[in-house]
């Protein structure tokens, strides 16, 4: 059984004269908070509190799922949102639990640290009077040397086995050897709990001083990205950071490699980029799914891929605009959805008047490999036979309203209300690279080429390495704590007082106390006493 020693009672504290009730309450609460039972309850609460985060969609994981939840449960969602159900791990109640737990941890560990430091400097305690009361015991058996020599020899043997020992002379001519081992258990346990604390601090530090963002990076010089805040598709800075704290670098996707299995499963991805850091010279770097691009102050992970058709629209006045349009993959075969919007189309060059009813938009799917049956589903994710299926719309795209809509589809409200009208037939137009399509008003859309795109996530967490070191140390502490056992052994060496052993001999008795649950202690004790007593091997007496 594990022995958890009571903390030494504060015997030297002055007798309480007038106990301040507030002080007494505080002290009692602190004692309660730092007890093992409280720690247990708080651990439980932590586990329970983590559950809702797997049931409800989390903003920190996937914002869109949260919006979907709001649409699906319009009544319930706002209520549970107020309870923090969509931000469980940032909610006040979750924080309250782990902060209490870690307060309890500090309150628990600090006194143990002090006690352990004392224990490390202390000597093994005196042997108990009645060794036969100990869980392990070997009754007196003879040894040829005199008591002090025997005691010293026994202690030497124990020291060789890494026991801490103390030899004491008793008044009556007898000697005792006290030995103790396994201090590393408590050392490891404290290390583990302190490491937990360091990891928590690391999480907090990383949250304050870290940042992350996402970006779709399309191949090509004109599509490069520099680490200024507006250039991210989405970015979150830690509360202690400002935009000027971001490291300065630029990226340009020069190449994207992907290979696929016959069944369309991706086999490997890799992106090649030109990187300039702090205005230095450009270098070419490649990174893949499990091997991020590590820059000074930012790690860049490749998290997705896709295609971006390049479309040129020449309006009825002959003014041409070119757009590189990222399409969103919707299935394994990379059937992708997207929309090309030309709000500045059909501006009369004579008047320079923009006519809201003359904007043009195209919506449809892109297939990297066209199906044989003409269906709008890709047959293979690689660019074997790229094709676009597009429908054309003219009217008011609704882009000026100020509500950011999807960048992968047209505004449904505008279409439903008739402000935006389909001007192509029921069947979408088929376009292959190089082909063009002339609309009813003489406008012309040309499918110029297809470029690759990479979805990248950019992140910096200044505490990451420290936390890794902390957790590895913590793991080592945990293993020590669970595998080392604290145990004590005592020997009492008495002068042999009768005649048959002759002069100078001694009689040795031993006892052992495992201080933690430890199955192997019996064998260890038997082996240690066997050598220490150098007993007659046939004699069975002395076994209890």
């Amino acid at each position: 059984m594990t022995v958890v020693e009571d903390r030494p009672a504060t015997a030297d504290a002055p007798p309480p004269r007038r106990v301040n009730p507030v002080w007494a309450l505080l002290r009692n609460s602190w004692r309660q908070l730092t007890s093992m039972r409280t720690a247990l309850v708080l651990l439980f609460l932590l586990a329970v509190a983590a559950v809702p985060g797997s049931i409800f969609p989390q903003r920190s994981v996937n914002r869109e799922n949260v919006s979907e939840y709001f649409t699906a449960h319009p009544k319930l969602a706002p209520v549970i949102d107020r309870l923090g159900a969509f931000d469980v791990y940032a909610s006040p109640w979750f924080a309250a639990i782990y902060l209490l737990l870690f307060t309890s941890l500090i309150g628990c560990v600090l006194p143990r640290l002090r006690d352990h430091a004392r224990a490390l400097r202390s000597v093994p305690p005196q042997a108990p009077k009645r060794m036969d009361r100990l869980p392990h015991h070997v009754a007196a058996s003879p040894r040829p040397e005199a008591p002090d020599a025997a005691a010293q020899a026994i202690a030497r043997g124990l020291r060789r086995k890494m026991f801490r020992t103390r030899v004491r002379e008793e008044g009556d001519g007898s000697w005792t050897v006290s030995a103790e081992k396994g201090y590393l258990k408590e050392t490891g346990n404290l290390l583990f709990h302190l490491a937990l604390l360091s990891v928590l601090i690391g999480v907090g530090f990383g949250h304050w001083y870290g940042w992350h963002g996402n970006r779709i990076l399309v191949q090509g010089q004109d599509q490069g990205f520099c680490s200024a805040l507006p250039q991210f598709d989405e970015a979150t800075l830690g509360p202690r950071l400002t935009a000027s704290d971001l490291p300065k670098f630029c990226l340009e996707l020069t190449d994207f490699q992907s290979t696929f299995q016959d069944n369309g499963q991706p086999k490997s991805f890799g992106a090649t980029v030109e990187v300039t850091e702090d205005g230095g010279p450009a270098t070419t770097r490649t990174f893949t799914v499990n091997d991020p691009l590590r820059l000074d102050g930012a790690n860049i992970n490749l998290i997705g891929q896709g295609y971006a058709p390049v479309l040129r629209y020449t309006d009825k006045y002959g003014v041409a605009q070119t757009k590189v349009v990222p399409f969103l993959p919707t299935d394994l075969m990379m059937t992708s959805e997207g929309v090309a919007q030309f709000p500045d189309a059909n501006v009369d060059p004579a008047t320079n008047n923009r006519d809201d009813k003359q904007q043009v938009g195209f919506e449809g799917v892109f297939l990297p490999t066209a199906g044989t049956d003409g269906s709008a589903a890709s047959r293979f994710p690689a660019l074997d036979d790229p094709v676009l299926y597009l429908s054309a719309y003219r009217g008011d795209l609704g882009l000026d309203v100020g509500i950011p809509g999807s960048v992968y589809s047209l505004d449904r409200d505008q279409i439903d209300s008739g402000r935006l009208q389909k001007i192509s037939g029921d069947r979408p137009q088929v376009l292959r690279p190089g082909q063009s399509w002339t609309l009813d008003d003489g406008g012309r859309l040309e499918f110029v080429e297809v470029r690759r795109l990479a979805t990248i996530s950019l992140r910096h967490d200044p505490a990451q390495v420290t936390m890794l070191i902390g957790s590895v140390l913590g793991l080592m502490g945990l293993m020590l704590s669970l595998s080392v056992h604290r145990r004590r052994i005592w020997f009492r060496v008495l002068p042999a007082d009768d005649t048959d052993t002759g002069t100078g001999g001694s009689v040795v008795e031993a006892g052992g106390l495992p201080r933690t649950d430890h199955a192997g202690f019996g064998d260890e004790f038997a082996a240690l006493t066997e050598t220490a007593l150098a007993r007659d091997h046939d004699s069975e007496e002395g076994k209890s």
Binding site: T2, M36, L43, L458, A526
Partner: protein, 316 residues
């Protein structure tokens, strides 16, 4: 190869099922014959140097129950071999470690559990009486894997193609296997303890022929204390390291991660409870069983209930 694997799987379940029936037979017929006596002896001898075995010469013709028990152990070992074959052929068919999706993950985890169980059995034959429950859980888990989670052999998605895959998944599989099988002595301890306290209603009657409660409790602790650091490494160190390299964040509260965290906290609570003198051992053991429930939740529940939030768990 893939078909072999599927057929071996069926045979594995059959072997465990047969072992279960034989264990049950021993349970039904078995008197506290040799096994019982051996148990008693081992307990008396615990702590003190073992006395020379004096009773070995009791001629005791093995009873019907005894035979059933021996056959059960043999079938159990056959089941383990078939189980190993299932996983190996699957790995060969896929040309990678058989840990790429939920089905393979469960096959591998239960393989570890089964191996640990057979290992425990060889070292402590006394525990044969737990065989009924050990084989029952193997049959249930494997059956569920085949029915609910079966996935045809396929290659890994690129995100899984990493050496962290080996570190993370192997350690998590091994520790989960040990945690899972650790629930058997935990449950039996509670039953036996209840029986010893005089409870005679249904589950407690099963405790009649079960070996000593203290030994079951210690075995429970040792299995959990061994699995816990391994799980800590696999789920809370190697997992985040891999996630950082692959997804760019070391921890993102994905449902899988949430439930790994919950399991870890619950098992930490178990170790705490066991180390706290004022908390009863039965209470601590209940916490270990709760940990088992959270592991099952991660093994099945998260993949089934929370689909869509994380695709990698069934990817493959």
């Amino acid at each position: 190869m893939a078909e072999w694997s599927d057929q071996l799987m069926a045979l594995t379940v059959l072997a465990y099922l047969a072992a279960m029936v034989c264990y049950a037979g021993e349970y039904a017929f078995g008197q506290r014959s040799r096994i019982g006596k051996a148990a008693a002896r081992q307990l008396v001898g615990a702590g003190a140097p073992a006395a020379p075995a004096a009773e070995e010469n009791t001629p005791a013709k093995p009873s019907k129950g005894e035979w059933a028990g021996r056959v059960a152990v043999a079938l159990n070992v056959v089941g383990l071999a078939l189980h190993l074959g299932t996983a190996a052929t699957r790995g060969i068919a896929a040309e990678r470690m058989p840990w790429g999706n939920m089905y393979e993950y469960i096959v591998s985890t239960t393989l570890v559990g089964s191996a640990v169980w057979v290992g425990v059995l060889l070292r402590k034959p006394v525990l044969r009486h737990l065989g009924l429950f050990a084989s029952l859980s193997l049959v249930v888990l494997l059956g569920a894997a085949s029915l609910i989670a079966y996935t045809p052999v396929g290659p890994l998605v690129p995100a899984l193609n990493s050496y962290w895959f080996v570190f993370h998944v192997s350690t998590v599989i091994i520790s989960s296997g040990i945690f899972l099988i650790g629930a058997v002595p935990a449950a039996m301890f509670l039953i036996k303890n209840g029986y010893d306290e005089g409870k005679r209603s249904f589950p407690y009657t099963l405790g009649k022929r079960v070996p000593d409660a203290g030994m079951l409790e210690r075995l429970t602790f040792r299995l959990h204390a061994f699995a816990f650091p391994l799980f800590t490494f696999g789920a809370l160190i190697a997992g985040p390291l891999w996630a950082e390299a692959s997804w760019g964040r070391y921890w993102g509260w994905d449902p899988k991660e949430v439930w790994a965290f919950i399991s870890w906290v619950v098992y930490a609570a178990y170790l705490h409870a066991r180390a706290t003198p004022s908390v009863k051992r039965t209470v601590a053991t209940w916490i270990a069983l709760l940990g088992f429930v959270t592991m099952l939740m991660n093994l099945f529940g998260v993949n089934l209930f929370f689909e869509g939030l994380h695709s990698y768990a069934n990817a493959g």
